[in-house]
């Protein structure tokens, strides 16, 4: 069935990473002209982020073994944009969703944009457990350090300690060393025996697992498993050392001038929340995730794909993006591609991701053990002790804790403190699991926006 231009439903895709790009590709192949809204300057997302014009490193250097995938995605998107098969709004953020409309801020200010169907491919960010001293300048997410390297060719310190757990910990260390950066230590909070427990799941992608093991070998002498992070020592400039306890219980001190922290990823779900999606607590990932069917249908004309739905990584995001778009076409009674192969692929990637989550767990016990003076909310300096006192007054529910203690009320809106805060609240209230502490409700705007962008006469295009 060929649709006239006027009859074409308006599909908006939020996010131009691997999921958003593949979703747009399937929609365009179905005869639609999707609108793609993305915060980046150029499509690619975080994992396949492109440096600004004028940078010269080839894709093999930027993306390593994943170079071909990155190039294919970039070329697919650029070709569609150039041919007018999609409408690209770069440097633009969706800050609110209401009544089938999106509020978008970008170069031209704020405006409301209507949609018939919405595909959210909002990705993920570093999942961070506070470490005493992490509020200092020079402490970053692992993802931040990778972005600095990839998009700016830079290291964020002269001597870097990387700490946390997850595939990015090893990968980033190798990437920094390869580029000539100095990595003083790689501190993995997961003991080796626990990492091996996830191995059954990892066998779903043997090549990927093998590549990880090879990378580990390059870190001989600086990689330590099963560590406990005690404190980041800092002076007025930033970190001077990380104090930690090794697997045998010995106290260690590693001098450095920068620290990268990250325990795998947490899904970016604020827009899914505003769009009215259901959420469930996922025991494996220890976080609340939006709910959708196997294709990404979340109801009310909303579809979810990529790490913002399930943390499967870049390959999984490409598959999920295609599936969500196919579901969208099916629901519009438009010809859709066969999805059987992709559905099988997604199931396999899901098994692998569960293996990763099992092998590199969120260090729940570290939250309960944080000293009272540890900053938990980095935006506003709310400490673990203040949180615990709030629980004594208001009970063990995160939204009440937010009202009383401001945790989750700062500029990041809880993105970097919410999960740790929930563990502290649950521990303080005697809950068996952070799920019982509830879920922080999303609020618009999901990004800070200048008042001037919100009070001007708002342009509406439908």
């Amino acid at each position: 069935m060929a649709l006239s231009e006027a009859a074409k439903p308006r599909i908006v895709v939020v996010g131009a990473g691997p999921a958003g790009i593949r979703a747009a590709e399937i929609l365009a192949a179905g005869g639609l002209v999707p609108i793609v809204i993305d915060e980046g300057e150029r499509a690619g997302g975080q994992i396949y982020r492109r440096p600004p014009p004028g940078f010269t490193r080839p894709a093999e250097v930027l993306y390593g073994s994943e170079a071909a995938k990155a190039v294919a995605l970039h070329q697919t998107f650029d070709a569609m944009a150039a041919a007018g098969r999609l409408v690209h709004h770069p440097r633009s953020s969706v800050i609110a969703i209401a009544d089938g409309r999106l509020q978008v801020i970008g170069d031209a200010g704020a405006r409301w944009m209507s949609y018939d169907r919405l595909i959210l491919a909002t990705g993920a960010m570093d999942r961070v457990m506070p470490v005493p001293g992490w509020e200092n300048a020079g402490v970053y997410g692992l993802g931040a350090m990778q972005i600095a390297l990839k998009a700016q060719g830079a290291a964020l310190g002269r001597s870097i300690v990387l700490a946390g757990s997850g595939p990015l910990l090893t990968l980033l260390a190798v990437q920094l060393l390869k580029a000539g950066g100095q990595v003083a230590a790689v501190l993995d909070t997961t003991p080796m025996r626990r990492q091996l427990r996830g191995f059954a799941g990892l066998s779903a992608r043997p090549l990927f697992a093998l590549r990880g093991l090879m990378m580990r070998r390059r870190l001989a002498g600086i990689y330590h498993a099963g560590v406990r992070l005690e404190r980041i020592e800092a002076d007025g400039r930033g970190p001077v050392a990380v104090l930690w306890r090794d697997g045998a219980g010995r106290n260690r001190r590693t001098p450095c001038d920068a620290v990268g922290l990250g325990w795998h990823l947490r899904a970016e779900t604020r827009l899914a929340d505003l769009a009215g999606c259901d959420f469930a607590y996922d025991e494996t990932w220890r976080q609340w995730l939006p709910q959708a069917d196997g294709m990404g249908r979340a109801g009310r004309g909303v579809y979810l794909a990529g790490d913002g739905l399930r943390i499967l990584g870049a390959d999984g995001a490409e598959v999920a993006g295609r599936l969500a778009a196919a579901a969208c076409l099916q629901d519009l009674d438009l010809p859709a591609p066969d999805t059987a192969v992709d559905e099988r692929r997604l199931a396999r990637l899901g098994r692998f991701a569960r293996g990763i989550a099992e092998a590199f767990p969120w260090p729940v016990e570290a939250a309960a053990g944080l000293p009272d003076e540890t900053v938990v909310c980095r935006c506003e300096g709310v400490t673990a002790g203040e949180l615990r006192r709030t629980v004594d007054f208001g009970g063990g529910e995160v939204n009440r804790v937010k009202s009383l203690g401001r945790v989750g009320m700062g500029r990041c809106q809880g993105r970097y403190c919410e999960l740790a805060a929930a563990e502290i609240v649950a521990d303080g209230a005697g809950h068996a699991c952070a799920a019982a502490a509830g879920r922080l409700r999303g609020q618009a705007p999901v990004r800070p926006a200048p008042i001037s962008a919100l009070v001007q006469d708002v342009a509406t295009d439908g």
Binding site: M125, Y140, Q152
Partner: protein, 105 residues
Amino acid sequence: MSTAAGEGAGRLVRLTEVDRAPLRFFLDGAEQQALTGDTVLSAVLSVAPALRRSEFGPEARAGFCLMGACQDCWIWQEDGPRLRACSTPLAEGMRLLSAAPGEWP
């Protein structure tokens, strides 16, 4: 290889891609050099250890996520709105401040 501009003073170390055209900006009134393609964050941290002080604690702030999610990296300008340093490309002649301009309450 580390940056020519402000060796020792900055936090950021340029490892590669150093053959870009120079770009001039001002930090707290002092003229500084950066490179075309730098973000505001990269430019400032190549000559200084931080972007600003925290408004809720004694420590300095230098960004945290570099992907527009944490909002830690905002910085003042002499004129105009505050900028999210990690996602704003540096422009020739930008005038940035590590503390609030005088008239800010």
